[in-house]
Amino acid sequence: MIKVYVSSVIDAGADTVWSRVRDFNGLPSWHPAIADSRIENNEPSDRIGCIRHFHTRDGGMIREKLLALSDYDYSCTYEILESPMGVANYVATLKLTPVTDGARCFAEWSAEFDCDEGRERELAELIGGAVFQGGFDALKRHFGRR
């Protein structure tokens, strides 16, 4: 089991950042690596069990299933059903935590998965770097860096 953990500080309150990332169908609107997204079977994007079907900018198709969503904890957990990355048992959580001294929040994005031997580092770097840190960098840019 490989674990990836990336965390950052975003210069906006958790409520504000959550409203940008909460929509399970909203990746293209904030993550620079994602080109398009739809929810299969026209389900609402906050229905637990719904599946988002999206493409990365380099053309890869990914299907992910929403496992948990909490507006109270500002957290969202999902699994990969289908992707070109070659990962199995992939479960990830994106979570925000308010920082009480100032309008900013602590953002964590973590994943656990299995993969073929020898690809651990490459995949951990891809997921932790381009996907998670890439997303945080976009949020930091959006909400302004101080």
Partner: protein, 486 residues
């Protein structure tokens, strides 16, 4: 009704450093202002679960608290009040740290629940939230900023005092032998500055131009050259956030003065070093690597299939550009002055190497690939016509240096013959904002870590032998990067 208090903050220090202080259940009288004196009862260790700390507050109150859980794995500790002269009832508190991987900082979460006598809920809530937690955040920040945690037991280093240092000066412009070492003083960091104990200093062609007096507005006679170095922070001036004594950093800046052992520079010039990057690698790589990043990404827009011509392909910048461009899928053509350099350039990803001592290469480039889309030119005037001839239609000519002499003016009418573009960049303009610098440095460290960039061979010289290093770089015999060690 049970009161709940929750406060959190971000501390600009690595989690290990913050945790080293907080896991010690008896450390609070060293960093928290409200605590007068504290001891662990019964001679137990302060990280023994179940131990009791007995302490007095500055206001005269006395409290005994017991450590309930301590986890080095989760960076978490829980404790409760067992006896107190303040009316906090059933008080249980938890301290949790989490790493901020983006910037190597620490998220600190501090919460508690307790009962309060009727009518005192609000007052006690404020005491805990503001008087203990928020004040504690500020006090620990100050504690770390002063370096008190790292030099416990050692003689405190005098801060805000000049420190003895060694530096190289250019008493008058001229050849390499004008460089002389001398003893000096490194003044305390001013507002916004950090004082750095430098371990490795990068040597660049611009240092030679400064020594020769080609850019007198940048370096007056009597000044110290050098644009970049790596080392560790000794102390920080007022208003500096995010850097603490002991942090490993590297910097590059538009004002010379790096050829010395201790130097104060604006914190905005600095980047943190990842643990995997040695000081000498950072000094060899920072300015040259960020230059390569600027050349390939911003100016050359190099991608798969781009035909790139690199002069001095075995030099400090040249090798980095070759390796990175090749990784991006470009066709890399390089010029070098001898066979030894040709071998190294090939090793770093230069596919077609042209060995030339008289700056004749245009025919070979045209034959090899039909012209270059991008030329990285550190040669200057002697290669002016050949560069023009080597460029493909719509090519881009980047004039990075002038090793053979100042480039004669380039006429727009000349460029129009092939729809060429021409640029004359200075890397400092591309890292002027701290966010730009951090982003580019991050890309550089990532490229090093994933093998996209192979660090160049490094030739090391003692700081006092700076003159030899300059001679070597000017002789065109060196391969890779030159670094001065202190």
């Amino acid at each position: 009704m049970l009161q709940k208090v929750l406060r959190s903050t971000i501390i600009d220090a690595p989690i290990e450093r913050v945790w080293a202080v907080l896991r010690d259940f008896n450390s609070h009288d060293q960093w928290h202002d409200v605590v007068e004196q504290s001891r662990i009862e019964g001679g137990e260790r302060s990280d023994q679960v179940g131990c009791v700390r007995s302490f007095t507050l500055k206001d005269g109150n006395h409290i005994r608290e017991q450590l309930l859980t301590l986890s080095d794995r989760d960076y978490k500790s829980t404790y409760c009040i067992v006896e107190a002269t303040v009316p906090l009832q059933r008080y249980v508190a938890t301290v949790t740290l989490k790493p901020v991987t983006d910037g190597n900082r620490t998220f600190w979460h501090w919460e508690s629940t307790f009962g309060a006598p009727p009518g005192m809920e609000r007052e006690l809530h404020d005491v805990v939230a503001r008087g203990v937690y928020e004040t504690g955040f500020e006090n620990l920040r100050r504690h770390l900023r002063s370096g008190a945690d790292v030099r416990r037991g050692a003689t405190p280093m005098p801060t805000a005092l000049p420190l003895p240092a060694r530096r190289i000066v250019v008493p008058r412009y001229g050849d390499a032998d004008v460089l002389v070492p001398e003893n000096s003083e490194a003044p305390a960091p001013k507002e916004g500055e950090v004082r750095i104990r430098q371990r490795a200093i990068g040597v660049n062609f611009i240092d030679i131009y400064l020594r020769r007096g080609w850019i007198p507005q940048m370096l007056a006679a009597g000044g110290t050259p050098g644009m970049e170095a790596a080392g560790s922070v000794l102390d920080v001036g007022a208003g500096v956030n995010g850097l603490l004594p002991g942090d490993r950093v590297a910097y590059l800046g538009p004002l010379p003065g790096a050829y010395c052992s201790v130097r104060s520079v604006p914190a905005a010039w600095c980047v943190r070093l990842p643990p995997a990057v040695e000081d000498e690698t950072a000094a060899a790589l920072l300015l040259k690597g960020l230059t390569a990043d600027m050349l390939l990404r911003d100016l050359g827009r190099v991608r798969a299939g781009t035909r790139l011509l690199v002069h001095a392909a075995a030099g400090g910048v040249g090798l980095l550009v070759c390796a990175w461009a090749r990784h991006l899928g470009a066709t890399v053509i390089g010029t070098v002055s001898n066979e030894d350099k040709a071998r190294v350039a090939r090793e770093y990803g230069c596919e077609h190497v042209i060995v030339t001592r008289d700056y004749r290469f245009a025919d070979a480039v045209q034959r090899q690939c039909g012209g270059a889309d991008v030329v990285v030119d550190g040669l200057g005037d002697a290669a002016r016509d050949e560069n023009f001839a080597a460029l493909a239609r719509c090519g881009h000519w980047i004039s990075l240096g002038q090793a053979t002499g100042a480039l004669a003016p380039i006429s727009p009418d000349w460029l129009v013959a092939k729809s060429l573009t021409f640029s004359r960049p200075v890397v400092f303009d591309f890292v002027a904002a701290p966010a730009q610098l951090a982003e580019r440095a991050q890309r550089l460290w990532a490229a090093l870590a994933d093998g996209a960039l192979k660090p160049p061979p490094i030739e090391r010289y003692a700081l006092d032998a700076a003159a030899q290093a300059h001679e070597r770089l000017e002789s065109r015999r060196s391969v890779g990067a030159l670094v001065l060690m202190t």
